[in-house]
Symmetry: C2
Subunit: 98 residues, 2 copies
């Protein structure tokens, strides 16, 4: 059993694709929250920048996160995002210091 | 009464100051969690980069966050961090999309 893991994943849509990307990412939320080991999965938007769409995630374990990243619904979502992002998603994994 | 607000605040210590900055940031946690309107205040470290020290925060309102940013203990903490960071802290405010 591994330690709880957090993820901060930032998506940067192309300038004319912000609403479209926001809608696609919103579709990730419900199926992900239903996955094993998902503690928090919140889609956030930067108050000062509508094109900074960021997931804040907490997972029970690295194994649960790995299963999520291989999920069918995420594969479908990634397909929908093709060509809509300015650059690849910036995904960082964190552990709690305090 | 304003909307709940999230903060992602990334600190980038100088290469030889990582442990020192981590210790100083750790001191922020307890007094901040005791502040009005603080829902979550977690200090995280990037699994792949010990020099990426990031707070994930949730506040009941923008007013509570503003009071936090003016708190005495944070002023003391900022003073301790002087000269130890590679660049200024990257602090972003977010609201929930979904």
């Amino acid at each position: 059993m591994s330690e709880k893991i957090r993820v901060i994943a930032k998506f940067s849509p192309k300038a004319d694709k912000v609403d479209e990307v926001r809608a696609i990412l919103s579709e990730f939320v419900e199926p992900t929250r239903a996955e094993n080991g998902c503690v928090v999965y919140d889609l956030l938007v930067n108050e000062a920048d509508p094109a900074d769409l960021t997931f804040y995630e907490e997972w029970e374990s690295a194994e649960d996160l790995a299963a999520h990243s291989k999920s069918e619904h995420l594969a479908v979502g990634r397909k929908k995002l093709e060509g809509l992002l300015e650059k690849p998603a910036d995904v960082r994994k964190y552990i709690l210091v305090k």
